[in-house]
Symmetry: none
Subunit: 188 residues, 2 copies
Amino acid sequence: MNELHVLTTGEAARYCGVNFRTVIRWIERGQLKAYKLPGRGDHRICVEDFVGFLQDNAMPVPTELAAASRKVLVLAQRPELIATGRQALQQGGFEVEVAGNSFVAGTMLAAAKPALLVIDAGLEQANAFAIIDHLRSRGEFANVRVLVVTEAGDNDSQRWLEGGADAVIQGPADRAELVAKVKLLLDM
Amino acid sequence: MNELHVLTTGEAARYCGVNFRTVIRWIERGQLKAYKLPGRGDHRICVEDFVGFLQDNAMPVPTELAAASRKVLVLAQRPELIATGRQALQQGGFEVEVAGNSFVAGTMLAAAKPALLVIDAGLEQANAFAIIDHLRSRGEFANVRVLVVTEAGDNDSQRWLEGGADAVIQGPADRAELVAKVKLLLDM
DNA sequence: TGAATTGTTGACAGGTAAGACAGGTTTAAT
DNA sequence: ATTAAACCTGTCTTACCTGTCAACAATTCA
């Protein structure tokens, strides 16, 4: 069972340094999404919605709530890229999941909702464009960043960027470069 | 093996981000339907009652609890199979979604939680086994039925059944046969 | 048999809703 | 620049819902 984390109005208020009464007003005005408990009508706010609200209003996001935005999914089959990616990104402070094929990647993307997808263009080359295209055409995944790691010798980064990728690394990936790019893409 | 038909108060509480004591109070007040076990008087909540309760109160329904017994996902690239499948199954009373590649199928499977996956073995042959294997190895998807539609001339149904498929149709699929098989697999 | 786990019950402290009111800030008009 | 209006936010109060804690019972497992 996945722990769906929710906040009360008081918790949300403390996170952004205002009175809980103000948070209730944000909810009543429809600016912040929330649902009500049947008892007295207590409000509960999904962390996901709260983080989105903070970002929309350029408010600082508390690190303990930003865990979801530090989640990275790696779609790769080259063993060296899988090993490099997992180790480097975990050491860089990211939560890393690895998928070995595009079907598994799809299930993980929908279930774990990572903020970034690293695609190994080496063996998924034929599918990579279709994947990026699907992400870009669905509002649900529109804010998932995409980082493509090309095959050695593939210098045509422009092709990927035009296809919808947010950044490209020419493989085989350098650990430092990979972490740096990911941090850049996630604003960290 | 985890039959998700009933919930304990603790499970229900975690699902809606509330203390178990509160769930018991909802039950005592008659807002949430439940029954008691003879021993200690433990409460048990039917999933459908719980989902109805969540919907009545505009609370988010966890995807894994969403009733999806009539939802079918078709993973196919052959146009004739897509057309046949969609029309026949919709006329048969099923809610049909179509994915054109395995990544999209993965996202839809995790998001829409269909009860049945129809796989076109024609063009996803290489991946089909990996997909079925992944479904069967993950408890989360263990109760998703799998129906494989083979290529014309492929008579080796046994291979698919051993690989984890619940049923096989030798393609190209006959409309009536397809609907009949799906109804059979979903106990309808 | 006894320990561990899980769920119930009761009592109590604490938190939250809702309305009303006062103070501060922004916006617009003079 | 000054004023007034409009709006947002914080504080206060009352009522009652919710979380926490302790003790206990049923079930499971070794």
